[in-house]
Symmetry: C2
Subunit: 361 residues, 2 copies
């Protein structure tokens, strides 16, 4: 069976690494000829609106999926004539629009920050008056890794954010003074069966995920159940197939949904070594109609992203239980070049090993 | 860094799957254009005596290794002009000749069955008289998976084996009425550092490995130490770099060396999920001069080879802790098409899961 994947970045690369043992073949589509997935699979290069390239890509694929949520919806929709596309394009459309996303959360009773669409300076002022500061102004579309969003703390920030972001449809969101960020990686199969990894704790810096701790420390069973209920509802509503991640803020003991990603997710990379079945394998199992794999952890795991530069591999690999994942990308400031997952049988040993890794960076 | 691999079979394929996360690139050489490694890496096809093809393959490789011990020695030796070759070609030469192999074992004090080279019917008769029956007659070279060997139980077997095998240099070996077969997968780095996986128990049928249990049940610490001493000596003598496996017979509480494989080995496939670092990653770490990874187990593991046919994936993947590995090969009687590794936190659960897998086959 040949899986077509829109997007040839590291997520696609790790999907292929998980899928080859299942006997799957892969074909990637990406505008960039240097895409990491191209090292280990067929790569079709073309713009996402190049219908000929998409047609060439789609013909001969048995199933199509995507690893990047900013793939144009039209491209994804077009490809349904060649093969089933999972997750369903409709889920992608919701995830691509922060307003539709927040409206969907709200409709399902999943708590979110307060929000209001903003299409003019007047509407922005109105939102500030209505909800107050601090707040966050975001583009409704094409945001990731903190791109396309600005925190508003003062009136001056409001003016600056408007200057920077105006011209795109925007969303004003209340700022949550959260205690921590958690995410839940879930998977739903073609028959509607679901599985959930444990909630993990994420630490972001400048909008980019830096570190994940799995499982998140001190999570009451009720919080895990609450998160699973939210994702179950969301996946059922979207008729979802594949891996779905929701990032939450934890605030005063409650979960407040920040955003969803209709794909394998950076906060699930630890599952390669830290869970019985990785998120990548489970995404493929789901879209292929295979039974979902066990999502239980194997000890404690920590994941550290390598942003902009990579450490000396010989230093990293000296740390027991450290697993290096390089994506084969050219270094560039702010770019995700790889990650390191550290596993240990208990949280204390894990913390020691993470400190040893931190010393290499 | 680009690793050249002679042989593009499943072992090469799994090397590449382990090496991509380390940021390595791969180029394979194999006479067969349909080789499994070709699905996920560059594949140069050519005969092993095609100097032009070898030169094309070797140019641009930073390191060269092999995944098949019947690669002609001359090809390996020739490639040393392009890049360092690990394991050292001399180790390959020893492993390719059952007589040199047994002589090396003996010189190092590693017990082996009695043996005698046989180049004529007269010498064969002489060996039978000297050592008695049962015994095994093997070709000195190019044997694997039970190919090129015959068990001699009666005088009629002796005649039939001579008819079948004559024309090649042969080796007569005493038959060991072993209690079980064990193997030790070891790895040695460029600085001489070593690491060992636990002894595993192997079950062969018609000369082909069918099932491995890791760790082997009821292994006294002394037996593990004895095996490690043997491999330490062997690796030092051969100035070895990479993964080396020795298959042993266990007989009356002692280890008797049967054969060595200068490469990653089928009895080490369980390490992908069952050990902290897989044999594939450790082979690459060793040849790249990186620190060796932890070889400790993660629970109990069992590995079942898929020979000739493969089961329905949806049945296999329903078993908790089951990991399917298909090699992308066309089915053919007696051909290794894949394997299943099952992991569990304890041997009893493992046995239940292995029985569930057996029911799918």
């Amino acid at each position: 069976m040949r899986i077509g994947v829109l997007g040839g970045g590291q997520l696609g690369r790790m999907l292929a690494l998980a899928g080859y043992p299942l006997g799957l073949r892969f074909r990637f589509f990406d505008p960039h000829p240097e895409s990491p997935a191209g090292h280990l699979a067929e790569l079709v290069t073309g713009a996402y609106d190049d219908v000929d390239a998409l047609a060439y890509f789609g013909a001969g694929c048995d199933l199509i999926t995507y690893e990047f949520e900013n793939v144009p919806f039209d491209a994804v929709q077009y490809l349904t004539r060649y093969a089933p596309v999972y997750p369903p394009p409709e889920a992608l459309a919701v995830a691509q629009d922060r307003l539709r996303e927040k409206e969907t959360f709200t409709r399902l009773g999943i708590p979110t920050p307060v929000f209001d669409p903003v299409d003019s300076r007047v509407e922005l002022n109105h939102a500030v008056e209505r909800f107050g500061l601090p707040a966050v102004l975001k583009t409704r579309r094409f945001g990731y890794d903190g791109k396309g969003q600005q925190v508003l703390r003062t009136r001056a920030d409001v003016a600056a954010a408007w200057e920077a972001l105006q011209g795109s449809p925007l969303l004003f969101e209340g700022f949550i003074p959260f205690e921590r960020e958690l995410s839940l990686v879930a998977v739903r199969g073609r028959e509607g069966q679901t599985a959930f990894y444990p909630l993990v704790e994420n630490w972001h810096e400048q909008g980019i995920l830096r570190r994940t701790l799995a499982p998140a420390p001190q999570v009451a069973p009720e919080l895990q159940q609450e998160a699973e209920r939210h994702l179950t509802l969301l996946m059922e509503t979207l008729n979802y197939v594949g891996v779905l991640t929701v990032e939450f803020f934890q605030h005063e003991g409650r979960l407040i949904a920040n955003e969803m990603a209709p794909r394998v997710h950076n906060s699930g990379h630890w599952t390669i070594e830290g869970a019985v079945t990785s998120q990548f394998e489970n995404h493929l199992r789901a879209i292929c109609g295979l039974p979902l794999g066990v999502t239980a952890t194997r000890g404690s795991a920590g994941m550290i992203n390598l942003i902009g530069t990579t450490p000396a591999p010989e230093k990293v690999l000296e740390v027991p239980g450290a697993h290096l994942h390089l994506y084969g990308k050219q270094p560039r400031a702010g770019r995700k070049l790889g990650h390191i997952t550290v596993v240990a049988s208990d949280p204390r040993t894990l913390e020691e090993r993470l400190q040893a890794i931190q010393a290499c960076l």
